[in-house]
Amino acid sequence: MSSKINGNVSPQQCPHLLDFRSRNGSKPFRALQDCIRVKPPGGRAAIRREPSEVPGCGTCEESSRPRLYACVACAAVLCHSPPLHSHASTHALSNPGHEIAVDVDRAELFCCVCRDQVYDRDFDSAIVLAQSINAIATATTSTSGATAMQCNVAGSQPENLRKRRRVDYRPWAPDSREHVIIGNHSILLHDATNASLISSTELPRGLRGLNNLGNTCFMSSVLQALLHTPPLRNYFLSDRHNRYYCQQKNGAFNGTKNSILCLACDMDAMFSAVFSGDRTPYSPAKFLYSWWQHAANLASYEQQDAHEFFISVLDGIHEKVEKDKTKSRSPGSGECCIAHRVFSGILRSDVMCMACGFTSTTYDPCVDISLDLEPNQGGSGKSSSAKSHSSCNVEADCKGSNQNCGISTLKGCLERFTRAEKLGSDQKFFCQKCRVRQESLKQMSIRKLPLVSCFHIKRFEHSSIRKMSRKVDRYLQFPFSLDMAPYLSSSILRNRFGNRIFPFDGDEQDASNELSSEFELFAVVTHTGRLDAGHYVTYLRLSNQWYKCDDAWITRVNDSIVRAAQGYMMFYVQKMLYYKASEKQAAS
């Protein structure tokens, strides 16, 4: 979505605008730049010849019209007040070449003949540049070469996002020779017309129960998700971490040690076992043993948290690799280890001074996103129509769904996560331009999406008053398909600058990234029960079928069970890495 307007695609232009452009180029728009006034912080752009100008219609001399337009050709200010009159249209019709005007209060182009707002990239660029003069940033990562004006807005590259040489995506189809090779080495699938012969036990590979070793469902639930995380599964099944080689290389089998601690090796062993075709439940005992050595402070067989385990395992895989490699990798690039290659993304944090508009930007890598559930809406479900749709209302979280106010959604949580948040007066930020602490606005966005997004829902509520903690059982709706585009830095920035047509930080110029913000759900870890006595279960989506993984028990469930479940961790993979079962042809 956002990539469509990254600078490559223009909205359809009306013939008058096209005509105007062919006659005048973009010079008149750039000449307007001097008249652009922006109220900080990050306010709307307006057109004024003098800062204190009060525009009024040249014909009727009214200033209080809601829509006043300045003719781009002659700078005459005229009103447009249908259905009464439109002095702007009259002016355009009687003066050829004067069809295009600009809304003085909103800095939007208007075609007075079509009587409609129109859009132009060069005009938008001029506006954005004028707005960014207010927001000159010194990003905390180096931005060598970029002009100060643009670095915050257009394509400032955090150093951990150094451009990798990209290869254009080209879909592949076999040629005739390759067809023959494929045919000779393939095992035929059952003929669709013999549908009855397809045994019901033709079940996906890698589906295998995990024995509970004693309150270890926190572990088996996360392991099931990892075993079916497509890029991770592919990595291990392609023998990219060979445990025999790794152990030998690191000095096992000689000396006193029987094995070197390496969670990746244990993971490799587990992948081999789970995908072996053996369907009896597997006991991840060695994995538990290794993990307890790695996470010594969590080595107790009671009360463990699945999310904590997840983070710990990724950390364990990363750490071992870090020790092996001699050169350090820049964090966030994901080049360091498979755990980060799969799960690591980059978050962008902007803090904007509310006095002067100066914005400070930082980038941080992350392996997952922890989301707060909305604050208690107190009586969810009632009076949904009474709830306002105002975007300023921090409590109402029902954007985009009129009839479902009261239901928490994953998208709602993500919207809150990326919302501009006013920092409290006790959290004033030091503004580098004002040289004092000022009230600020903070906004998060996703600069780089990982291959696999893990969303962790903070179902924990801690009350310091009552000195207790409780679990929030509130239902959270999560989609099976998720488009992350609205939460990207490019979209958030674009929205902050009025949705102008301009390449913002993160916009990719090439079309191969068009799909890269679409994700598919493949695993859900759910928790039922109380805070201190509960049970984890994982639902896996394989070939468009959902399976429930409850320790050793694997059963098939339908979509509804999963949709209605209480999600604690949701795993989404980039759509292009996700294989759906193809539609089988109906038997004739």
Partner: protein, 175 residues
């Protein structure tokens, strides 16, 4: 000529009307841009997901649906049954004893000395503390204005020590 009060009421009505008109045009202009430039979200898909979710919840709540009998499985999809406590026997990799799978974790806990003696010498380096990806640094949670030490910890299993003391999950390996 109307009385001064009436004038004021009329005037304030007039201003209010102007402001309201202006705000309406603001919103219209923004929506128009979003639609024309191609930024509008696919609301139909989102509404469909919400509808499916509501439908699912209704069908699961319906007692007439067999639904899933929690933990009362008969056979799994491979036709197997499993006892409540896993009975696969294997050797403990720490002490060599034969243990039943379902009792392995409590055994290992004692066997490893509750984790304290478990750390082998070579698994930690001091650089682990500065590891950007360790739990303490801003890796997974992002509102630094929520209590950053708040943990969202859902434990499983039988109640051990109750209460709100949770490790904050720093994997530095320090004692």
């Amino acid at each position: 000529m109307s009385a001064p009060n009436e004038d004021n009421t009329q005037l304030s009505s007039h201003f209010f009307g102007d402001l309201l008109d202006s705000i309406i045009v603001d919103v219209a202009s923004e929506c128009h841009r979003i639609a024309k430039v191609g930024l509008d979200r696919n609301l139909e898909e989102e509404e469909e997901e919400l509808r499916l979710s509501a439908q699912a919840r209704a069908s699961v709540a319906d007692p007439s649906n067999s639904g899933e009998a929690n933990n009362k499985y008969v056979v799994d999809i491979f036709g197997q049954t499993h006892p409540p406590v896993a009975n696969e026997i294997f050797k403990c990799m720490n002490c060599g004893r034969s243990i039943a799978a379902g009792r392995f974790a409590p055994h290992l806990e004692k066997c490893m000395g509750k984790g304290r003696k478990a750390r082998l010498k070579v698994t930690r380096s001091s650089t682990a503390a500065q590891n950007q990806y360790s739990r303490g640094s801003p890796v997974s949670t992002y509102s630094s204005y929520t209590n950053s030490t708040s943990t969202s910890r859902l434990s499983n299993g039988t109640p051990g020590f109750a209460g709100e003391e949770y490790s904050n999950g720093t994997y530095e390996g320090e004692p």
